[in-house]
């Protein structure tokens, strides 16, 4: 049965997977990040199919926006002899590839004809409001804890990445 939803899913899934495969196979770091943006955006599309509009918007903002930009900063602030590929470890790579494939197959056996009786749901109705209500009532404790987590990440990132004052003084002397 070829519905619009199915075609959309196939197209998005294809782009997501191609983006992922390119991420592994491209050699230039910048190209890898660009490939990843495609994956992130198409995953946002998948979320829309799954009636999670709010998550889709967040996905685009956080992943395609913030995280990609952070990664680009990371790449630009550090020098990359980026075309170099690993010299050693052909066997290790093969071994890992087989391991990951084995894991994939094992899980696939579990899910390929998974059948869960479908229940009606109203997720698409006022999606954002539902998330908000759940977040601010049921999950208020983890929500507040997340604010501590973000504060820790903020302080930590500043402490670790900041140039020290005496470093700057030394740099000026030189």
């Amino acid at each position: 049965m070829l519905t619009g939803e199915f075609i959309a899913f196939m197209a998005l899934a294809l782009v997501a997977i191609i983006g992922g495969v390119l991420l592994i196979n491209l050699t230039k770091v910048i190209h890898m990040v660009v490939a990843l943006v495609f994956t992130f955006v198409s995953i946002a599309g998948i979320f829309v199919i799954l009636s999670a509009e709010f998550i889709a918007a967040v996905q685009i903002l956080i992943y395609s926006g913030a995280i990609t930009i952070i990664m680009l900063f990371g790449i630009m602030l550090t020098r990359h002899d980026d075309t170099s590929e690993p010299i050693t470890g052909k066997w290790r790579k093969l071994f890992l590839l087989l391991g990951v494939l084995g894991f994939g197959v094992a899980v696939y056996i579990g899910i390929y004809n998974l059948d869960i009786p479908q229940a009606a749901n109203t997720l698409h109705v006022d999606n954002t409001e539902q998330i908000g209500i759940s977040l601010y009532s049921h999950f208020i404790i983890p929500f507040e804890l997340t604010s501590v987590l973000l504060l820790v990440a903020l302080i930590g990132a500043i402490v670790l990445a900041k140039k020290d004052e005496d470093d700057e003084k030394e740099a000026e002397k030189e």
Partner: protein, 506 residues
């Protein structure tokens, strides 16, 4: 939900968490506004007072009934109280070490951050031990992990510290993703994140395919969490991170973080997987968790062997203790594998004993490595001549780590043996491996021992003791001997107050 319902919960039961959170916030503000010249050590003492206050608050809650706030996103049960006591005591001792920590290149500038990141990590660990909801457990875990990543990289001009933090983040990120992947399947098959509801729903599961997926989820969650407790197959980060991180952070990782890892592991495994019935060959369906015993036993055995055998050829003391802590995680996994009636007692007591003996050893290790700037095992030579008190203390800790009678470590191991043998069928192989590996561990523990007592010192100067480290050594040595001779003090306390965790899933 209106304000009234929200206020009707007993928020008082969260007092220890609120105290830690409040102190951490206060420290971060103080650190910001205090003049630069003021010694930041005062913040450490404030943090220490905060932890003591939290312990007092927790002790006053011990008699309190099992309380659940907001659908179990926070719950105070016997399990939570028992393990939070260990976490808080460990964190208090580690903080004493951190106040006295004086690395070669200095860390004056970041001492303030150092202290309140310790507290946020502790907060994460405490939330992990008192939550019955997947999401809170996950956020607590990440709060602990993120704070530890930063702490490990705190000596930012030290290349080793940088590298250890980098390895820690990468390994931690991969393990988090694996755990979450497992959790997502569990969520999918139950439709809830509440552990109690999960165990009810999973108790009626019959579809073999669902059981298969749950089996996979079990492995994913276990492998992901084995990172936190530093056991096989996710142990390889431990030696590198332990070596590179500042010593108090290493102590924190090997005691508090490991305890928290076992806490979340117990919560998840027992709540989720103990209730899944699997139709076996026999007539009676067995819980999935018992089906997995063989795999758990294999991993526990592998962890003990890897930890003890590789420790044999270490010259660096911090690496030596990293492998030794892997081995100890293996011993505790034996208790988890056998699932005897004594499992909780055995694990709790072992973690308590491990807390004192390991922290004591790290206190002395910190003193010696920061005095000499070298982490080679030779630095311990002639410690008995240079500082007899320290040498005797270290002797007690090593004897306890090795599991010699008269120390807490021995009782802990004995409990685990009994649990493994009392069970039908008894786990003879696992107990055998544990005994052999304990004997192997004598080699490296007593290597350290001979260095301290029978080798001449390179320089005979007396070591100067700082008050913080002396306090930690004295407390730990006293506790190690006390619980070695009178283990019933701890065990009776445990049985009287926590009721064998009968309220685990209520």
């Amino acid at each position: 939900m209106d304000l009234e319902t929200l206020l009707s919960y007993e928020w008082g039961t969260m007092a220890p968490e609120f105290i830690i959170l409040g102190v951490a916030t206060a420290l971060s503000l103080l650190d910001l506004f205090m003049p630069k010249k003021v010694d930041r050590r005062i913040l450490g003492w404030l943090g220490f007072t905060g932890i003591l206050a939290a312990i007092v608050a927790l002790v006053s809650l011990i008699g309190h009934d099992t309380t659940s706030i907001l659908f179990d996103t926070f719950r105070l049960d016997g399990f939570a109280k028992a393990f939070k006591l260990i976490l808080l005591a460990g964190a208090a001792l580690v903080l004493l070490l951190a106040i006295d920590y004086e690395p070669k290149e200095g860390m004056k500038e970041y001492r303030g951050e150092f202290f309140y990141l310790f507290l946020t990590a502790l907060l994460g660990a405490m939330m992990m031990s008192s939550s019955g909801d997947l999401i809170t457990l996950f956020i607590g875990l990440e709060l602990l992990s993120l704070s530890s990543y930063i702490l490990a990289g705190m000596r930012k001009k030290n290349l080793q510290s940088n590298e250890s933090a980098m390895k820690y983040v990468i390994n931690g990120g991969i393990s988090t993703a694996i755990t979450l992947f497992g959790m997502s399947y569990v969520y999918g098959l139950t439709g809830t994140t509440n552990l109690k509801e999960m165990s009810l729903i999973l108790g009626n599961i019959a579809d073999p395919q669902h059981v298969y997926i749950l089996g996979l989820a079990f492995f994913l969650i276990f492998i992901g969490l084995s990172f936190k407790i530093a056991s096989a197959p996710f142990h390889m980060w431990a030696p590198d991170v332990y070596e590179g991180a500042p010593t108090p952070v290493t102590a924190f990782l090997s005691v508090v973080s490991k305890t928290a890892g076992f806490v979340i592991l117990l919560r998840l495994l027992l709540a989720i997987f103990a209730s899944v019935p699997v139709q076996g060959d026999g007539a009676e369906p067995l819980p999935l968790l018992l089906r997995m015993q063989d795999y758990l036993a294999f991993l526990a055995g592998a962890t003990m062997i890897i930890g003890n055998v590789i420790a044999l050829r270490q010259r660096n003391v911090k690496r030596l203790f990293a492998y030794s802590s892997i081995a100890h995680a293996g011993y505790i996994l034996v208790a988890l594998t056998t699932m005897s009636y004594f499992m909780f007692d055995a694990i709790w007591f072992y973690l308590l004993a491990y807390l004192f003996m390991n922290l004591g050893a790290f206190a002395i290790l910190q003193l010696i490595t920061s005095k000499t700037g070298s982490e080679d095992i030779g630095q311990f030579a002639g410690l008995y001549q240079r500082a007899p008190v320290l040498a005797v203390g270290m002797g007690i800790f090593i004897l306890s780590l090795a599991g010699i009678p008269g120390t807490a470590g021995f009782i802990g191991k004995l409990n685990i043996f009994m649990g493994a043998l009392i069970r039908e069928p008894a786990h003879f192989v696992l107990v055998g491996i544990m005994i052999v590996m304990t004997v192997v561990s004598y080699v490296y523990y007593f290597g350290l021992f001979t260095q301290m007592f029978f080798r001449p010192a390179a320089d005979d100067s007396k070591l100067k003791l700082s008050p913080g480290i002396t306090t930690v050594v004295v407390i730990c040595a006293a506790a190690t001997v006390l619980f070695g001779i009178m283990p019933n003090l701890a065990l009776d306390f445990f049985h009287q107050n926590f009721n064998g965790f009968s309220d685990f899933l209520q």
